[in-house]
Every structure is written in structure tokens, then in C-alpha cells.
């Protein structure tokens, strides 16, 4: 990974690409370990896969929907949305989980609301979410497969 770091450094200092090119060429003459090995290629691929994976079109995705109508935004849905999306990508779940927003579903007093739809399973509605609770949902529900009962609409005991 030496090269990765050093090329980045050159980039940050804003040197021109000509310098960068010379730098790599110099290395080719054995001044420093420069080669991009297969392991390094794999590291870049894994890092990028989760981002490019967001662009897959698949009917079997688990859908996580965050209420982002005026009521949701006012209750703090945006940090929840950002947090979930971040967590999903960091954990490499983009190949099976899609995070999107939706409008008002009519339960404004329970916003921020997050719905999780796993194909073939009943929809789970989480209410009064915040970024911390959201992380828990990603960990336990999306990654672990266990519904976090205490945050659900059912647990709030309303009919």
C-alpha cells in the first residue's frame, strides 16, 4: 500500500500530473517499492464496490424507506437518513439494501419514521428515530436479521 499513500500525498500537494508520472517512473527504476500488486487492486475494488453497488437494479433488495416529508424533516429525519445510508455503505450492504426516502404516510406525530421492507417478510415500521437508534437498526435488523422490537410502531402500543 506504500504507493497508494505516496501518490495521494503528491496529489494533495497539488503537483502536476507530470510530476506524478515522473515519480512513478522513477520508482520503476527501483528507487522505491512502487508496484500496484493484486492485493492493492483488490483493496480499491472492495472500497469502490460498495459505492458502485448503489447503482445496481435488483428486485431482491431490502428497502429502507425514511419519511422525508415536511413533518419528517422537521422532526429530524435528515440526519437519520444520512446516518443509515452511511452505515449501510460502510458495512458493505449496498448489494442487498437500498436506502430511499418517501413522503408523508400520515403518522406525523411519530416521525422520524423508518420503514424496512425485506422481500417476503412483513414490513417493519420504526418510529421516533434518531441517528443512534438508526445505527442500532442497521446493526441488528439489516445486518443481523433481528427486528428491533422496542422501536417499532407495534411496541408504541397504538391502534
Amino acid at each position: 500500500m506504500l504507493v497508494l499513500k505516496s501518490t495521494r500525498k503528491v496529489k494533495e500537494t497539488g503537483e502536476s500530473s507530470v510530476h506524478l508520472y515522473l515519480y512513478v517512473r522513477l520508482n520503476a527504476h527501483g528507487l522505491e517499492e512502487n508496484m500496484k500488486t493484486l492485493a492493492e487492486l483488490k483493496a480499491i475494488r472492495e472500497k469502490m464496490q460498495n459505492q458502485v453497488g448503489l447503482r445496481a437494479e435488483d428486485h431482491n433488495h431490502t428497502r429502507v424507506v425514511v419519511g422525508m416529508a415536511t413533518c419528517g424533516i422537521a422532526a429530524g429525519a435528515r440526519p437519520v437518513l444520512t446516518k443509515i445510508s452511511q452505515e449501510v455503505q460502510e458495512r458493505g450492504l449496498t448489494d442487498k439494501v437500498a436506502v430511499t426516502q418517501t413522503g408523508c404516510i400520515g403518522l406525523c406525530q411519530y416521525e422520524p419514521i423508518v420503514e424496512v421492507m425485506v422481500p417476503g417478510e412483513p414490513k417493519v415500521t420504526y418510529i421516533h428515530m434518531n441517528p443512534e437508534k438508526a445505527v442500532e437498526v442497521v446493526n441488528r435488523h439489516l445486518a443481523g436479521g433481528h427486528v428491533v422490537e422496542e422501536y417499532t410502531l407495534g411496541a408504541a402500543d397504538i391502534k
Binding site: 487492486l41 469502490m48 448503489l54 444520512t82 443509515i84 449496498t94
Partner: protein, 595 residues
Amino acid sequence: MYRSHVLVCGGTGCTSSGSPQIIERLKNEIEKQGLTDEVAVIQTGCHGLCALGPIMIVYPDASFYSMVKVEDIPEIVSEHLLKGRVVTRLLYDETVTSAGVKALIDTDFYKKQHRVALRNCGVINPEVIDEYIGTGGYEALGKVLTEMTPDDVIQILLDSGLRGRGGGGFPTGLKWKLAKQNDADQKYVCCNADEGDPGAFMDRSVLEGDPHVVLEAMAIAGYAIGANQGYIYVRAEYPIAVDRLKIAIEQAREYNLLGKDIFGTGFDFDIDLRLGAGAFVCGEETALMTSIEGKRGEPRPRPPFPAQKGLFGKPTILNNVETYANIPQIILNGPEWFAAMGTEKSKGTKVFALGGKIHNTGLVEIPMGTTLREVIEEIGGGIPNGKKFKAAQTGGPSGGCIPAEHFDIPIDYDNLISIGSMMGSGGLIVMDEDDCMVDIAKFFLEFTVEESCGKCTPCRVGTRRMLEILTKITKGQATMEDLDKLEELCYYIKNNSLCGLGQTAPNPVLSTLRYFRDEYEAHIKEKRCPAGVCKALLSYVIDRDKCRGCTLCARNCPAGAIIGSVKNPHIIDTEKCVKCGACMEKCKFGAISKR
């Protein structure tokens, strides 16, 4: 980490319909609404639906917006990107159904397609090498260099059945094998990106949407045949493709995926660009290599074939862009995977550029063996205005026409040749009942006459004589003897020209003669153009009973050829008439017709 990716097409089609302005406004608006950290804007290559540009796709919900206007951007940002409400009225109408929004892959246009060469086009940012690596890029090169011998690579290609996508259909593995067998101190790998057929733009789209795939495949080719230098010969008329190739080469060098000692295996390979000035003949392999050498782009006789004596007299392989775009996938997925697609002798997929009288003008990739009917009626959405299909032209100026009687023929190399056309590089122009086949043949002949390099006489003089006869026919001045002479000339030029340009130049005439001889004869014997295209044979007439004498036609006639007084039927003076059709367009009573 972004929660949403907005992909905007940056191919030539969408660029010309205004995608750069869309991207600029999108970035401004996203910043204004405070979403910069949440939403990424990515410029991609072609998605295929060029007629609907500019195209924009929002992930993760994969909403497909078509014909996006700059004024629509604030609404899309505030409604969709912030609040998650898809702006349905701006979506591609095929995806909107009564049951909600349909996935793009389920639309008629994409359903039957199978994307191998276009796998990354419209999905990744072609100017960022990391995105290509993220989809498995350069993995095939790594595998080849560390686990395989050159013979293994060639064997995989032979087993896959991959044939050249530039038109000839020569087995790629065999080409590589021949070049490997010839020992030399220096060999070369070339890429033919001199796409010149009118109506073809597959190679441009691959270069614009996924340039790294070509670089990777060329490096693999270099390893297989023992070459360490590659050249891409690309038309200067493809500025976006040239820019992206330059960026890609620079990035690959930066990562040492091109250069010395790639992956620490001791294998060296580098690629340089050579820009062509747009001569059609430079797409011919020997002319292309002569042009790379810095000489005037003219073909030379073969043998010796390029695999023996090619660029600078050294063993060389030359493959087309689309051929290269298939290779990394074949290495990674195995030859059986590739050979499972297509027909017995034509494996894999083929990219076609759909154009002419068709609903979905654009780029499609289909498995070999798909029928012309499926391509035109299902994927292409049929012919506009309820007109009837007459013929499809494939292979550009070297190809021929496929008439309605062969509508159900499975498309592959051998089938197309057996009906007098050819695969060509993949332009597919659809013609309806309003197209005159003699005029089409004349159009392609005009092109070859213009593009003939002049080195050999049959092509230089012969094609010109053919064009003269065709012009006579369209003017109604030809005799049946002329038609015989035309046919004789066709065979003479075919058999005696030096290179592919001349040998194939008569094809458009031969195939239209084969299927539409009656149209030629109507022009000659009856002095009539059945499709109503050839101006010299048309005459406009006013129906006395329908004409109300409103004088509208007379006022709009640029030649002053319409005579008549108010409230009395008008007549057209055929001597003065220039046959522009303006009167027919203006008449509110349908009183004017052409014959």
C-alpha cells in the same frame, strides 16, 4: 459516503442535447439545498436511449428521467433528492404504468438486451479509474499475468468463439495465435477506433463510457502475443472519446497498470493514441497501419497479413473496440459463459446503433441470434406514424438491405451474409415505405465515391461510373441496358478492387437490386418513383374538385408556379414547379397530391 447517486449521461448524444448544462445546474442546486454531502453527481457514458436525452438516473431507486430540462432541476432536487417524491411526470414514460413505476430493466427497450460490451456504459464514471476497478476492472489483466501463460489466454479466446466485431467476423483467438507464432524483436497491438460507417456509433460509446476496458484488453493482447506497445487509432471527430482515452491512459499509468513491470510480473506494456483525420479507408487494416506510421492512409495488398508484417513491418494484431470490450469478461467468466450466448457459429452479443425510421433511436446490445423483428418492433419500439417496414440496412456502405421477407431471420454473421448483407460494425438503419431504395443505394455510393482513396482503378473510376448510372436512373433518364451495365460493373469492382472498401462498395446496389428490382424498373420503364422520393420523377397536381381557390398555395409557392384566381380552382405549372412540396403542406383541403 453518499446516500444517493445521480447519473447524468455524458455521451455525445446527451452532450449535444445539453447534459453539461444539466450537470452544472444540478450541482448548483444541490449545493443551494444543502445536499452536497449526501448526493453525488456522476457523469457517465451512453445509456443507449439517445433519442430521449439528456438522460438522468437517480439511485438507489433507479428513477429514469428523460429529456431533462434545466428548468426542471430545482423541482427534481427538492422533491426527489430531498423529500424522496419521484417527479413522475418527468420520468421516461415507458417506466410509468398504472401500477406505479416500473424498473428500467423491465421496459421493452432493456428487457431483451444483454449487456456485455456495454456493461459499464452509463453505470460508471469513465474518468475515474477507481470506479472501473470497483466493477472488477483490471482483475482479468491481473489473472492473466499471474496465473496464465500466453497460450492459455489464446486458448480461452478460441474456446469462447469470439469473432471480430468490426464487421469481418474473423475469429479473434486465431488472429492472436498467428501473431504469437511469428517471432520478432518487436510486435504491436492496435485498436481500430476509426468508426466510419454512416449511422454507426457503438465504438464511440464504448470509448466514451468505459475506456479502461479497451486498455485492459489491449494489455492482455500484448501479453498473449508478446508485444509491449499498443496504439489506439481513433477519429479526431470523436473529441469526447479522445479526451476520456487520454485521461484513462494517464490514470492507468499512474496506477502502473500500464508501464513497466505491471503487477510486479516483469511484463511491460504501454499505449499511445493516434488520431485519424476521418478518412473512411483508414478503417481498413493495412491503410490504418500505414496511417499510424505517419504516411498517407492507403491500403496495400495482402498477403503479407498484419500478423506477419504489420505496423512498421512487425507482427501486429488489430482488433476493433467492441471486440476488446468483450475480452476481460471472457477471461473472468470463462469461455463457456461466453459461448453459451448466441448461435452455433456466432457467439456472444452484438451492439447495434439503431437509426432511421424507428421509435427508440439509440444503442442496443443483443445476444446473437435475436431476430430482426425483435430488435425493431420490441426493443426499437417499432416504426413511427404507423408506417410499414420496408427494409433494414446493416453494414453501412459495405453492407446491404434486409427486406421484410427476412424479418424473422436470426441475426448472426453467417445468416446476414447468406441474404446478401453483412454484420458490419453494427449500424442498423430502418427504412419504411417512404424510402426509395434506388435513392438509398445512391446515397451510399456517393459516400464511397467520396471516400475512395484512389489507389486502384476499379474503385476510383468504377464507383464513379456506378454513381453516374444511379443518378440517371433517379432522374428517369436511364434505359434497361444501363441497369445491366450497372450490375456488370458491380461484379467487376467487387472482384478487382484492392481493399475492402472497393470490394464491398457495390453491396448496397447489389442487395437493393436483389430485393427491390421492381423499384429500379419503375424508375426506368415507367419514369416513376414508387416511394415518391426522387424529385425529378415527381409531379404535383391540384384536384379541381377539392380546391376552393383560397390562394394559400399560390402565396406560398417559392417559384410562382401556381396559377389561378380567388375562389376558382388553381393549377400547377409543371415547367416552373421546383417540387419542394410547400403547397401540399399548406393546403387545408388536401387538394394537392404528388404522383
